[in-house]
Subunit: 465 residues, 2 copies
Amino acid sequence: EVKFEKISPADFFYRNRDIAGFTNPSRSLYTSIRELVENSLDACEMGRILPEIIVELQEVGEGSSEDVKIFRLRVKDNGIGVDAKHIPHAFATVFYGSKYGYRQSRGTFGLGGTMALLYGQITTNRPVTVISCTNGDIHEFVLRIDVVKNEPIVLDHKIHKNNDEWKGTIIDYYLEADYTNSKAKIVEYFRNTAIANPNASLTFIDPKGRLYYFPRVTEKMPEPPKEALPHPVGVDVETMKRLISMTKSETLLSFLTSSFQRVGPKTAREVIELAGLEHVANPKELNHDQLTALVEAIKRYKKFRAPDPTPLSPIGKDLLEAGIRAILMPEFLYVVQRPPQSYSGFPFIVEAAIAYGGKIPPSENIQIYRFANKIPLLYDERADVVWKVVSERIDWNNYNVSKGAPLAVVTHICSLKVPYKSVGKEAVADRPEIERELTIAIRECARELKHYLIKVERRTIAIKR
Amino acid sequence: EVKFEKISPADFFYRNRDIAGFTNPSRSLYTSIRELVENSLDACEMGRILPEIIVELQEVGEGSSEDVKIFRLRVKDNGIGVDAKHIPHAFATVFYGSKYGYRQSRGTFGLGGTMALLYGQITTNRPVTVISCTNGDIHEFVLRIDVVKNEPIVLDHKIHKNNDEWKGTIIDYYLEADYTNSKAKIVEYFRNTAIANPNASLTFIDPKGRLYYFPRVTEKMPEPPKEALPHPVGVDVETMKRLISMTKSETLLSFLTSSFQRVGPKTAREVIELAGLEHVANPKELNHDQLTALVEAIKRYKKFRAPDPTPLSPIGKDLLEAGIRAILMPEFLYVVQRPPQSYSGFPFIVEAAIAYGGKIPPSENIQIYRFANKIPLLYDERADVVWKVVSERIDWNNYNVSKGAPLAVVTHICSLKVPYKSVGKEAVADRPEIERELTIAIRECARELKHYLIKVERRTIAIKR
Ligand SMILES: Nc1ncnc2c1ncn2[C@@H]1O[C@H](COP(=O)(O)OP(=O)(O)OP(=O)(O)O)[C@@H](O)[C@H]1O
Ligand SMILES: Nc1ncnc2c1ncn2[C@@H]1O[C@H](COP(=O)(O)OP(=O)(O)OP(=O)(O)O)[C@@H](O)[C@H]1O
Ligand SMILES: [Mg+2]
Ligand SMILES: [Mg+2]
């Protein structure tokens, strides 16, 4: 009567795909497109390539109910591609990816691309085609996902000569979905992606043949994030054990300075003494109690320098300004980039902007454009820390903002680890450090807005006379 | 430079434990306790046993910062226990559990218990003790979790004679946590659990030795949920393939009637004809296109009877009334149980109540007590469908409810699959069918409240004369 089972990660997210954003046929189409576009943007950023992304959605058959149809979805990018030996697992295995390191990227879970293709498979029973080239030949795979085993099934693998020196990736597959009820959100997704990625050329061709084209407005490339060592704050026993098992250091002192950022010899000595250990001890020979003492000492040591922000890649003030001007076309715009901070040992940077007037329509509620690691977040606004700050931490009356004003607040949180509330990447949790940074940044923009509104008011009064 | 990795489910939730509710030392203590208590309540319900659950939290050492201490957490229940051969995996493997079937239970992911113990392991480096008896001898295991492999490490296994015929489970382990800042929520969790589980005896002994005791107020046992067959609505290619691989049926007709609920011979014939297939076809010999056609036919067939509610186990009107009266002690109380409905092929039942006056304090905002599968949901209120209904779908002015009234709304959604927004089980997504049922149920209670308030007002006026 009590029946125990073990299920694979693919099976888990198959059964609970709504948690990953695949709730209904319209939301599932949105989630599929966003996961694939985010993969393409990561691939271009990895290679410092100006992104060229083309998304094509064609209706190819009737679905099982009113607005539901069978679509062919094709996403093409000019990124760094995927090595042939990794393609099957990258796209048909959950928890398999290249973004588990210590640097900022849009992807982080090793889940999204596989989920999009899985959704196509379970709704249409068709295999998926992945074409990619890192250098040299072009590889074309036809894949299915073995959900029970969480493994790829390679149905075909062709190798083509690369006559045009093309590099990039093409995902080409079928899914049953509802475009009618997701169209607005999908177009909004592309539009908002253009704000945060103004150097990307984005093309979306929809089932009616309509072309949505967001050309790049700059050729600037932000500084790419650089892989860094972990910061000691937040390190627990599990991470410590893994670092020890991987280290080539033969003393505790060199282990600490070589395994962690912001730990020089002086800091390492102080931590080792706090733990009651010897500098020359062999890290691989620490016993159970010594290991616990080392981790506890790190937790209690309060003098570590703040985390290194080089694994981060903010949008940058000029790029964010260019993106907002191109898409929102405001009269007034003020952009702020806060200095790097950290929460739980993870560095993060908050960027914020207030845009006012111009093409921004008046609106009962303040229009909020949220971004995290350059990804637009279009759902769960009320659950997001930005909404909390905008509605509870900022008194807009203080800044001469009247009800229904043509006002947009744009926020970007970039971090090694964005504290998303769910694997669906829609709302960011209200970590106190992040909430504080957002509050400071938005207030700074609001003060500038106030000066502008006062000036405009004076000019209006002067003109009336 | 591009480094691919595959990580285990334990590793994934170790890195992303905030998504599972382990965000900071105080929230992690709350999550740990709730996951273990919910396991105990499931174990008692499974055996139709009146629950006797004792939770003991003792401070045993200093932690690494101000309010953070080392605690020993011990949870004991009188449930059906865990078979010795399953204990190591049940508690030290993610995605291993007994609740993957087709019947309602609090647990559903095969994750929570293991996560609680993992959190203890990574913060204290100590192994965990699990003692359990299903029948016969008492088994005592000392376990660690191999996070990289997602496997148990059994450090010790003792077998004790069972002299008192005891049955149940004891979880006994250490964790670093913050009780000071989670105490209020933890006590609220026990209090609310008592509302939804009035036949449970709950004891919580906190680190100061304070006893929080919620005795059972009834010996009634609700009808236990019964395992059922899946409903055809929402079935996709993947599920269909698994059902076909497991079936003993040799014809398509008997396969459909024996694998699905609500599919009798007449319905099966209509579906098979809609798919353009033969009744006598061997399900295991369907080719690719035939399988797709069968799934499409099921999606298009609109005449299936609603899902069978016997896999559900609502609280029940008298039990919910008893629980609310015992804990909230209102003057007025009205309880509603809606008939079974379904969303995406999953049956669900909404129960709701409005409690007013008596010991319920006046409050600026309406006090909302949310439950899902008898679990209290104490976080993410603004992201929950119940909050949306209470604040946007009910016009409280229509029901003579003044601002600051001593009003509490209690809701319970029970389903084969509660559409939680995250594996942290705190907010329920606003599926239209569920939103509709909540709206109808709460409005019905509000109408009764209105009659009561009018009566009270008349009496007050009469007394004044
Ligand atoms: N268009 C692409 N170009 C290059 N590599 C890609 C592309 N799409 C996917 N990949 C590779 O496949 C891996 C798995 O992708 P997937 O989307 O499943 O996970 P992820 O992006 O790592 O994390 P997340 O689940 O957060 O999106 C990526 O880590 C990346 O290495
Ligand atoms: N107190 C207990 N008594 C009996 N069985 C238990 C107990 N605690 C855990 N188990 C068993 O261990 C399994 C794993 O528990 P765990 O909490 O990890 O997952 P779950 O309860 O199945 O799902 P969820 O992650 O949603 O809680 C359960 O399915 C159950 O079979
Ligand atoms: Mg991805
Ligand atoms: Mg559980």
